[in-house]
């Protein structure tokens, strides 16, 4: 069973489920008498293409599947995703400059493996200067309405 349901076949099933989802949801779109094609046919055509390809992928993936090579840093990936989410959540609340300084420090201090003193010496001026520069460049020069400074 384990050999039958290899990674490629699981991927094919996920694609098939996705195609089914598109097909079913497209069926709920109301038709219009003004448009003889309708809003559902095109997404259903796409769903059919994905579905047929997924079936072929499932049928042809019968051999052994090569494992994905390379290191895996699950902790680092989770850390960066968490940092980004927190950054986007506080972005509009505490302002662009403070949130960006915090975000840059969180990344550089975690991923730089040198001594803490050396890291701080580089990371703090970098985070402050880069954030302030970006703020003035985007907000003042390009007129982008970045969340204002909260101090």
């Amino acid at each position: 069973m384990k050999n039958f349901m290899n990674r490629e076949r699981i991927i094919a099933l996920v694609c098939l489920a996705f195609a089914a989802y598109i097909w079913i949801v497209a069926g709920t779109f109301p038709a219009s008498f003004l448009d003889n094609v309708g809003p559902a046919k095109y997404p259903r055509l796409l769903a059919s293409l994905i579905g047929i390809t997924a079936v072929i992928l499932f049928a042809t993936s019968n051999g052994p599947v090569k494992p994905i090579k390379g290191k895996r840093e699950f902790r680092s990936l989770a850390y960066i995703l968490l940092c980004i989410m927190i950054y986007l959540l506080i972005f509009t609340r505490i302002g662009f400059i403070l949130s960006t300084i915090a975000f840059l420090l969180a990344l550089t201090l975690y991923f730089d493996h040198r001594e803490l003193k050396t890291r701080l010496k580089i990371a703090v001026p970098y985070a402050v200067c880069f954030s302030v520069f970006l703020y003035f460049f985007f907000a003042k020069l390009l007129g982008v309405l970045l969340p204002s400074i909260v101090l």
């Binding site: 991927i11 598109i22 072929i56 992928l57 699950f74 990936l77 972005f91 990344l107």
Partner: protein, 500 residues
């Protein structure tokens, strides 16, 4: 031609050149920042043109357009973040070249292709402005549909090892373009109850997420970001042989870019993908495309830099702006009290030809500015990976924020970054999804428009000569890589048999 030469004389005057220089620099900055496209950079400059002499204001706006089309390639090559949608095709080979330490070579080729492609398109504009504008009017829904399908024929080239997963990725991209309100019936499709999705997905958040953020996540997951060894600064330039090899491609793609630019609604993004796919179809030894082939940088860059001059064709000759950027240029004409259209060539012919001459000068200035900033740009990539990665992330999120002035766009970057990361991890092709997304609207709208006009009859798709030319080119584009692979395999077998 005489008017163009007169225009050149005026364009080379110091004051005029200063305005063009300012426009080119502003355009490069605008193009290089994701979210600030050519049209945004031009619109930011538009208020300053009130009261200005149209002989200076219009060339300055056109120079912004020229600079922005080049500027988009800089972050595409260096940090895998296309500054504009048109630079998405440049990412494929440009970034791979940079990873191999050939970033200088890629930037230099991008500049060369951009400038030469731009110059070619200016010449095409000068000589064919009237007949090409008439040809552009022959393009109906079916022709646009087949043109988009021809652009999709490049999927095989960007699919990696699994053509089936590449195909699914491209269809997934086409699906992403469906999200939002249907433009025919106003029905909300796949918006998941989120009102902000009613207008569809913005291009920049999807591109930046799929390319830049997914790459950052991949590097972090693979532990590459922990490498403390700094990249050594090394400047590389294309060799004479590479210039010779790329020049015919650049000329052909520049000309093609002009034609695509002349088609209302097509634009630089589509031109660059068509340039990439057609080059892959026509050139020999194309198996290196997507792995850092210099021709893969030359083709899209030349094509998208050919678009600004091409875009002037319907604007000047017919008064039809074919893109956002030319619409802003048209606003510049209106502010100056000048009406675009056929009468412009009768009443004030010196204005359009002066503008063409200024675009020619803008290309020369672009070459000078581009060469000056080449080395400092390459030095940027020698910064420690940790700092570069964190800067890319901030740049990506703020750039996306700028597109909507809303943090929702930044969340979209994160979402598509994660989707792109998963796609890469499991053998799918994010570039194919981007290609589908970029061309999706053109495919669906024109397919439905054609079916509406024909009352559902499919024969409408095969009704004109242009349709058939595009169909043949598409079939050729899809089959060519397999045919060449088959022929070279047979040849290798024959050689092996002879040796045995």
């Amino acid at each position: 031609m005489q008017l163009f030469i007169q225009g050149l004389g005026q364009a080379f005057q110091p004051v005029s050149m200063l305005y063009i220089l300012a426009g080119v620099i502003w355009g490069i900055i605008g193009g290089a920042i994701p979210g600030i496209s050519a049209s945004v950079a031009m619109s930011l400059l538009l208020p300053f043109t009130y009261g200005m002499d149209p002989f200076y204001s219009l060339p300055m706006l056109a120079a912004v357009y020229v600079g922005a089309e080049y500027g988009g390639s800089i972050p595409a090559i260096l940090i895998k973040t296309p500054g504009t949608g048109a630079a998405a095709a440049t990412v494929l080979d440009g970034y791979e070249m940079n990873r191999k330490g050939l970033g200088g070579k890629a930037l230099c080729m991008s500049l060369y292709a951009g400038v030469l492609g731009g110059l070619i398109s200016v010449f095409i504009l000068v000589f064919t402005v009237i007949p090409l504008s008439q040809f552009a009017l022959k393009f109906g829904p079916t022709e646009y549909f087949w043109m988009a399908i021809m652009g999709l024929s490049v999927v095989g080239a960007v699919s990696g090892n699994s053509p089936m997963k590449g195909f699914i990725s491209a269809v997934f991209g086409l699906f992403l373009a469906v999200i939002g309100m249907d433009s025919f019936t106003a029905v909300k499709r796949f918006t998941f109850g989120i009102n902000r999705l009613s207008e569809g997905l913005e291009m920049i958040p999807v591109l930046v997420g799929m390319f830049a953020v997914s790459e950052v996540l991949r590097q972090i997951f693979g532990g590459e970001v922990f490498e403390s060894v700094k990249n050594k600064f090394k400047m590389t330039y294309p060799t004479r042989k590479e210039f010779m090899q790329c020049t015919p491609i650049v000329i052909a793609c520049g000309a093609m870019g002009s034609i695509v630019g002349a088609l209302p609604g097509a634009g630089a993004t589509i031109a660059s993908w068509i340039g990439y796919s057609e080059t892959k179809m026509i050139c020999k030894n194309t198996e290196t495309f997507g792995t850092g082939d210099i021709r893969g940088v030359a083709a899209p860059e030349s094509a998208n830099n050919g678009v600004p001059a091409g875009g002037l064709i319907p604007l000047l000759a017919l008064g039809i702006p074919g893109s956002n950027s030319t619409a802003i240029l048209m606003a510049g004409f209106t502010i100056a009290g000048i009406s675009c259209g056929p009468m412009l060539f009768v009443n004030e012919p010196e204005i359009p030809y002066k503008l063409m001459a200024c675009m020619f000068v803008a290309q020369i200035i672009l070459a000078a500015v581009g060469l000056l900033i080449l080395k400092p740009l390459i030095k940027l990539t020698s910064v420690s990976k940790v700092y570069l990665t964190s800067a890319i992330l901030v740049f990506a999120f703020v750039g996306a924020f700028a597109t909507l002035n809303d943090v929702f766009a930044s969340w979209m970057v994160l979402l598509f970054g994660f989707i792109g990361f998963l796609m890469k991890r499991y053998g799918f092709a994010p570039p194919a999804a981007v290609l589908g997304f970029v061309l999706g609207e053109l495919v669906e709208n024109n397919m439905r428009r054609a079916l509406q006009l024909s009352h559902g009859s499919m024969s409408v798709f095969f009704s004109s000569t242009i349709d058939w030319v595009l169909i043949v080119l598409t079939i050729f584009g899809v089959c060519f890589p397999y045919i060449t692979k088959f022929i070279s395999k047979k040849r290798a077998e024959r050689t092996a048999a002879k040796e045995a």
